[in-house]
């Protein structure tokens, strides 16, 4: 993969107020490529799901750190990597099954399904006791918008 033309990395605490913050940061970063309103909405939703999972599932009983890395490429592709050092996922394929949840009543088990239908591709790497990294791939504009 070619080098990104812009890259941002931020680390924040696993506090639920940061769900909104993460969405705002991604939207502001992606705006450089001048995406459509609906592409931006999809991206915000997918990021919200991944960040919420890191907050809710990765660190169930403690505060932890979450790192979000944003990379924008010349051809208009964006990647967002959301990484935690929490509990990890024992069976990633099972976790990604629609409706699968370990989260009880108010969780729908649809987070991964939403990420997959709102992005071009979703990659998950996880190790029990070490943490999880979810990478979202999304093409923002076919030509890449402004190339500055």
């Amino acid at each position: 993969m070619k080098k990104p033309k812009n890259e941002v990395k931020i680390t924040f605490h696993s506090r639920s107020v940061n769900e909104r913050l993460a969405r705002s940061i991604v939207a502001a970063f992606a705006a450089q490529a001048d995406p459509s309103v609906s592409v931006l909405a999809d991206l915000r939703t997918a990021v919200s799901e991944a960040v919420t999972n890191a907050i809710v599932h990765a660190y169930p009983d403690e505060m932890g750190k979450i790192t979000m890395t944003l990379k924008l490429y010349d051809d208009g592709r964006l990647t967002v990597k959301i990484a935690d050092r929490g509990c990890g996922i024992p069976d990633v394929a099972e976790a990604m099954t629609p409706l699968f949840t370990t989260g009880g009543e108010e969780r729908s088990g649809l987070g991964f399904s939403v990420m997959e239908s709102f992005c071009d591709k979703v990659k998950v790497r996880s190790k029990v006791g070490k943490g999880t990294a979810v990478t979202l791939y999304k093409t923002l504009t076919e030509k890449g918008g402004e190339s500055r």
């Binding site: 969405r23 909405a41 919420t52 809710v56 009543e105 969780r107 729908s108 987070g111």
Partner: protein, 107 residues
């Protein structure tokens, strides 16, 4: 996000506005459940007209209230779902639940 609750003729309407995510859904559902449990409404209406963002936490919000009303022998309706809200509810298969009135259904 904020929730404004109106009650009339055994119908409780919750006007939701702003962004619905895991952080905001918790106080919202507590507020709605409190109103359901305190009053004797037979019908709950969830109004999404002013909702600008919703992730899958909103699905849990609707499903949880639907189940609570059902356990009390009541009904739940979703009204004024904006396109992003509708998309999320459809993705969750909620367009197959009896929570839509004729004009609303399958926008």
């Amino acid at each position: 996000m904020t929730v404004k609750i109106e009650e009339a003729d055994k119908t409780l309407t919750a006007f939701l506005s702003g962004e619905i995510d895991h952080h905001t859904a918790k106080p919202a559902r507590e507020q709605i459940d409190y109103a359901i449990e305190r009053g004797g409404a037979d019908v709950l209406r969830l109004d999404f007209a002013e909702v600008s963002f919703m992730d899958s936490s909103g699905v849990g919000l609707v499903m949880g209230r639907y189940r609570l009303m059902q356990s009390r022998g009541g009904q739940t309706f979703v009204q004024n779902a904006t396109p992003p809200v509708m998309r999320m509810l459809k993705l969750a298969g909620l367009d197959r639940l009896p929570i839509w009135e004729k004009e609303e259904k399958k926008k």
